[in-house]
């Protein structure tokens, strides 16, 4: 579990870089000019340190890059489905492939594929439907080469809605699989 041990230092380093107060100036990143978005390490983007002028971000280690990638993936960790369907749209497939790639490159990472349904249809049938959706995601992951040890499937059916309300807008948000990192 080496990754776990480096998570905290990596996060701390990012935090310090973002604050810009104690960033090392004589590091190898010295040639990077703050505000120069073409060369700047993206970890400092939007951190609001342009005004300070003097702060320079740390270079990004492999671990930092991994954390960042994971954060980005976690912001896009839900795929949506049509009514009573477990077919993945091309957009959904792209999302799943991005997670699959990350999991292949990080074999000690695990996810839970949580399948959900909208409130129409009965609760236990929707449990089956949620599982079928999670399995559709799992199949894409397996086909990309993700180890079956790296994910597990759970279906919540309609029991844990993401959106409340009995309308198409809410239903569309609830017919989903969430890829949850553990």
């Amino acid at each position: 579990m080496q990754v776990r041990n480096i998570v905290i230092p990596a996060v701390l380093a990012l935090f310090m870089a973002a604050c810009g107060s104690t960033a090392e100036r004589d590091s190898t990143a010295g040639q990077t000019t703050v505000g120069d978005s073409s060369t700047r390490d993206s970890s400092a983007q939007g951190a609001g340190d342009q005004d300070r002028g003097s702060a320079k971000p740390l270079p990004m280690s492999e671990e930092e890059r991994q954390q960042q990638q994971k954060r980005q993936l976690m912001q896009n960790n839900t795929v949506y489905f049509e009514f009573d369907s477990s077919d993945l749209s091309s957009e959904a497939q792209n999302t799943v492939r991005a997670h699959a790639e990350f999991l292949i490159n990080n074999p000690d990472m695990n996810v839970r594929l949580e399948g959900h349904a909208d409130e129409r249809g009965t609760r236990e049938y929707n449990i089956g439907l949620g599982e079928r959706r999670a399995q559709a995601v799992a199949r894409v992951m397996l086909s990309r080469g993700v180890s079956s040890d790296q994910f597990e499937i759970i279906s919540y059916g309609e029991e844990r809605p993401a959106a409340l309300g009995s309308n198409e807008e809410a239903w569309a948000k609830n017919r989903r699989v969430e890829i949850v990192y553990r």
Binding site: R120, G121, T122, E124, Y125, G128, I154, E159, R160, S166
Partner: protein, 444 residues
């Protein structure tokens, strides 16, 4: 036709009282939630064919008493949909004994039956049921009536059952219970409870609380236990819980789905849905040995199994034909037979106590409604007209169905008579769903 003063009933009450006493001690200690908000009841449907009856306040059951026996009897009869009780203020007399009764007073009001009597000093409810037009006393009983509030309610329910059966010939369900699931909050704050209440919504007792979903409660045939689905450690599981003691047992937790428990009529097995071998299929789990037997093998979703009353067959939901429909299979296995073809979807069927009909969720163009399916005539008979009605469950006398429906502020419970004539809603805060009606609590 005067019944002897009820020896069998008296015995029955004694047994029930003992059970209640031990249960109320345990339940109060465990759950301390007896004062939880009561279900509010609204009768919506026509009384035009209902039987006019008067339930006279019992002499000795005074206005300040915590339980008003005749009020409870009157409310019970009204909720059944079969009776139209006379308001108290319209009564011309309040007889306590047959000698006090003037048949003419009641005939004038068009009342067909009168229930009256006394709450006697020796803790006995003595009541009489008179057929006004024939001028005949149909029954007279002495019922033990301990003055503890809860137990007097149960005495009132027993009186209701006797009156109901005496007039309609069918066993009453007033002393039965319902179990249901509530959900409050949303997202990470969503909380779930499994609750048991009297059939009229009183005395709700929370049996299980969880941050994870609780689903699919199912009564054991002896009404002492519930099976249900819970989640723990990222996995679903089927549990049984003893209602009196609160003792809980996890009976199975395979990878994937553990769902839809249904007790066999002899109480020895659970039909369940498991997906660990491939995808959701029906299995039969022997509760004593823990052995399970796979009943269906299909790539479709097979779930929501329910036993026929004789235990020889099961019906279940399957989407093997495309959309979910109801199928039937022998309890010993074999190839299933599709039953329903009318409607886009038909789901979650269960048998009426006499085995002649199923109650199920039927998808029409207007959404999901509760319907009966007549097994002999192969016909769907709609009972409700909601857009998202679900989870139907027969009362043990087969005359009412309880189900969940969308209300103004979430899901709420409702009942409908099997002739679809009378519906009533049972309102409560939070989302109340998955009601299941208990079997009769003891055999008569």
């Amino acid at each position: 036709m005067t019944h002897p003063t009820g020896a069998p009933t008296a015995r029955r009450i004694d047994g029930w009282s003992r059970c209640l006493l031990s249960m109320s001690l345990v339940v109060t200690a465990l759950f301390a939630n007896v004062g939880y908000a009561q279900l509010e009841i609204t009768v919506r449907g026509g009384t035009e064919r209902a039987i006019p009856i008067a339930v006279v306040p019992l002499q000795g059951n005074n206005a300040g008493d915590p339980v008003d026996v005749s009020r409870i009897v009157s409310n019970n009869l009204e909720r059944s949909g079969l009776f139209d009780p006379l308001p108290r203020e319209d009564m011309l007399e309040k007889p306590a004994t047959p000698e006090d009764l003037s048949l003419r007073n009641w005939r004038t009001l068009g009342v067909e039956y009168v229930v009256f009597g006394q709450l006697r000093a020796n803790n006995v409810v003595r009541f009489h049921l008179v057929d006004v037009f024939k001028g005949e006393r149909l029954m007279a009983y002495d019922m033990p009536a301990p003055r503890q509030v809860e137990q007097l309610r149960y005495t009132a329910h027993d009186v209701s059952d006797l009156v109901f059966e005496g007039i309609t010939g069918n066993q009453g369900v007033f002393n039965t219970r319902i179990a249901y699931v509530t959900s409050t909050g949303a997202g990470d704050n969503q909380r779930f409870r499994l609750t048991v209440a009297d059939a009229d919504g009183y005395n709700p007792r929370v049996l299980v609380r969880s941050n994870e979903p609780i689903m699919s409660p199912a009564w054991s045939p002896d009404a002492r236990q519930l099976a249900y689905v819970g989640y723990a450690n990222g996995r679903s599981a089927i549990y049984t819980i003893d209602i009196a003691s609160g003792d809980r047992r996890r009976v199975i937790s395979e990878p994937g789905i553990n769902g839809s428990p249904a007790w066999s009529p002899d109480g020895s097995k659970l039909a369940i849905t498991l997906s660990y071998e491939e995808n959701p299929d029906i299995y039969v789990l022997d509760l004593n040995s823990g052995q399970k037997r796979r009943l269906t093998t299909h790539w479709g979703i097979d779930t929501e199994a329910a036993w026929s009353p004789d235990g020889e067959r099961l019906v279940f939901t399957s989407d093997r034909g495309g959309a979910p429909q109801i199928y039937r299979i022998s309890a010993s296995g074999g190839s299933p037979e599709r039953l329903t073809f009318d409607g886009r979807q038909n789901l979650r069927a269960s048998y009426a106590p006499n085995g002649e009909k199923l109650v199920l969720v039927h998808q029409s163009d207007r959404g999901y409604q509760i319907a009966l399916y007549d097994l002999q005539r192969d016909a769907i008979l709609p009972l409700t007209d909601g857009r998202l009605d679900e989870s139907p469950s027969f009362a043990p006398n087969g005359q009412l169905v309880i189900y969940a429906t969308k209300g103004a502020s979430g899901t709420e419970l409702a009942t409908v008579t099997v002739d679809a004539r009378v519906r009533q809603n049972l309102r409560q805060a939070g989302n109340v769903r998955e009601p299941v009606w208990s079997p009769f609590l003891d055999a008569r």
